[in-house]
């Protein structure tokens, strides 16, 4: 049972706080992904777990034992780096065997472990080679193999796929998934790529500026983002945001343009304004004549249409507001077309304008 517990962990460099109050329990066998833009403190958090950075505040425990002052090698964790970090002057075999040799494991045992791991990763034919003679994908496999042979209690990954080309990245992603299913070892995985995060994670931790913005399953962070940052970060292309002001009838009018909306089913309190969020894929294009008047429908003009392949992105002008919509099908509208679109109330998000916190769904407070 390896539970990793981060008890209000923080890291400061001089006066600069790279990570603040990181509080989380990582369950046994869980695949946890740290996701966020570059510089938000993901690597720092991971490296504190690894022991490569000291912990400024808070307590880290792995498998119940406090780890703050324990050397990296004694934490029972293994790490896979973005640039592989293989020993360039040693063979694949020696790279994988290094930790075991340092533990003074009997030679036969080392050979067996490295051999088994190499076979699992399809590296058996390359054991004698130097890293320079391997492809990028093979190098990353060696790096993973080096972690596996140690049978660690926790795997740590720092953007392990970022140096690979797009195709290989997808392939390795799947391999990582299979590997995790097979070994079931608690894993912490850092990435800035939301697709990686969505596909691999049991839970995602979204970080922003050194602070945790939200922890949740991929579904949760997509469906119910905790704040505007998460809402904008998850999903591609990004969510549309519309600033709204309450009008006299307890409905809402956009601050720019003149989009008018009926009362919304959010717990708005006495707020006079809020920020509405609509994902591009949640803007429905109505077939001509299908406008049954139900829900929120609007006139829209297509300013620009970009074909992505199966889908198309439409740049729409809706009552003076620019919105991005994602539509499927090959016969998508083209620039200059006039359309009717619909928002579905259940797919809308609302945020506090100042704090950016998401508003709960609930009965709207009427002020007029």
């Amino acid at each position: 049972m390896t539970v990793v517990q981060l008890d209000r962990i923080g890291k400061s460099y001089g006066g600069f706080k790279a990570v603040e109050e990181f509080d989380l329990t990582i369950h046994d066998g869980e695949f946890l992904v740290l996701l966020g833009p570059s510089g938000c403190g993901k690597s720092t958090t991971l490296r504190m777990i690894a022991g490569l950075e000291s912990i400024s505040t808070g307590l880290l425990s792995i498998g119940g034992a406090p780890m703050n002052d324990v050397e990296p090698k004694d934490r029972g964790v293994a790490m896979v780096f973005q640039n592989y970090a293989l020993y360039p002057h040693k063979s694949v075999y020696d790279n994988m065997a290094m930790a075991l040799k340092l533990q003074k494991m009997p030679k036969a045992e080392i050979q067996k472990r490295v051999g088994d791991t190499a076979e699992m990763l399809g590296l058996t034919d390359y054991l004698a080679r130097k890293p320079a003679a391997l492809s990028g994908g093979q190098r990353q496999r060696v790096a993973i193999g080096r972690a596996i042979v140690r049978t660690p209690k926790v795997f740590l990954f720092d953007e392990p796929l970022s140096n690979l080309d797009a195709k290989l990245r997808v392939k390795m992603r799947m391999e990582l998934q299979e590997l995790h299913d097979r070994l079931g070892v608690t894993s912490v995985y850092v990435t800035h790529d939301q697709i990686e995060a969505m596909t691999l994670a049991d839970r995602i931790v979204i970080m922003n500026g050194g602070v945790v913005a939200q922890v949740g399953s991929p579904r949760e962070v997509y469906d119910t983002p905790a704040d505007e940052f998460v809402a904008g970060f998850i999903g591609s292309p990004s969510m549309n945001f519309i600033d709204l002001r309450r009008n006299g009838d307890d409905g809402w009018t956009s601050v720019e343009g003149h989009l008018a909306l009926p009362p919304l089913s959010f717990d708005t309190g006495q707020r006079a304004d809020l920020r509405l969020g609509v994902r591009p894929e949640h803007i429905e294009i109505l077939d001509p004549g299908a406008d049954d008047g139900i829900g929120m429908t609007f006139d829209a003009k297509v300013l620009l249409a970009e074909l992505l392949g199966a889908d198309a992105l439409l740049n729409l002008d809706v009552d003076g507001i620019r919105l991005l919509a994602r539509v499927s099908g090959t016969e998508h509208p083209v620039a200059g077309d006039r359309l009717r679109i619909r928002f579905h109330e259940a797919q809308l998000h609302a945020f506090d304008c100042e704090s950016g916190r998401a508003l709960e769904r609930g009965v709207p407070t009427l002020v007029s």
Binding site: A78, M79, F81, N83, P88, A99, R146
Partner: protein, 274 residues
């Protein structure tokens, strides 16, 4: 392109090459003349007769001149090894380990290297006398190491900074201590830096004059630059011997420079460029 600038270019290049080599070539030619040829009028531009007598004479009559070269070799080699060893460790600590006084220490090390060597002489001479280090190889080796450590630390630290730190971090995760990381990972990965630095330090030590002059007072312990400079006979400078000894003393440097030209130039420019 047009021809004229090319001709100009080659003329300038040829001129620089000739000027660079002229004193060395003239010296070599001198060493290959007999005494009459050296002092002849009209002057001999080409040795006539062409003779290796001076070289034979040095071996048979003034073997101390060869001893100077041997001394230089021992001191320069010892200084290079000592400097690379302890300077490498210091450079590694200063480039990779966050230490509270690390930056201050680096500036301090560089600042003390500004002192003119002659300003060290009165006190070094006294201290070495007291410590019995005058006229010993280890004494001059340590003295040269002191002179060239700042350069070494600076060079190697800049080199270590060019290595990806993740490899060392991976080694740390694998269970290596800092010393083992330094020995088995850092040194193998940065040997070009060690070679370049070592070559330059070797040349520096081989060429160093004031400390070698003062700390080696016995004739038999002198290094080549000092021994040859102080060689003169009673009346006139014996140019036939001096030129020959000088040629012998610079050959090792000429060879090293020719073979390792790339590394030396790379090291010099990297050191100055940062």
């Amino acid at each position: 392109m047009n021809k004229r600038p090319r001709i100009g270019l080659y003329t300038l290049v040829a001129l620089s090459v000739v000027i660079s080599f002229l004193p060395i070539v003239w010296l070599i030619l001198t060493s290959l003349k007999n005494t009459a040829g050296i002092y002849a009028w009209p002057p001999q531009y080409w040795p006539d007769p062409f003779t290796f007598d001076n070289y034979v004479k040095i071996v048979t009559e003034s073997p101390e001149l060869l001893l100077y070269v041997l001394n230089s070799f021992i001191v320069a080699l010892g200084c290079t090894l000592l400097t690379l060893t302890i300077g490498g460790l210091a450079g590694y600590a200063l480039s990779r380990i966050k230490m509270r006084w690390g930056a201050v220490l680096m500036v301090f090390i560089l600042a003390v290297s500004m002192f003119p060597p002659v300003s060290l002489l009165p006190s070094l001479f006294q201290n070495f006398l007291k410590l019995g280090l005058l006229n010993t190889y280890s004494g001059l080796i340590i003295a040269h190491a002191g002179l060239f450590l700042p350069f070494t630390v600076w060079m190697l630290a800049s080199y270590f900074r060019t290595l990806p730190p993740e490899i060392e971090e991976a080694a740390r995760m694998d269970g290596m201590g800092l010393m083992r990381i330094f020995l088995t990972i850092v040194i193998p990965l940065s040997w070009p830096g060690f070679v370049a630095t070592g070559l330059i330090v070797f040349i520096f030590s081989w060429n160093e004059f004031p400390l070698a002059l003062v700390l080696m007072t016995q004739n038999a312990m002198r290094t080549a630059p000092v021994g040859i400079s102080l060689y003169p006979g009673e009346y006139a400078f014996p140019w036939e011997t001096i030129s020959t000894a000088t040629v012998i003393a610079i050959i090792p440097i000429l060879v090293i420079t020719a073979i390792f030209q790339k590394q030396i130039v790379g090291g010099l420019t990297a050191g100055a460029g940062k």
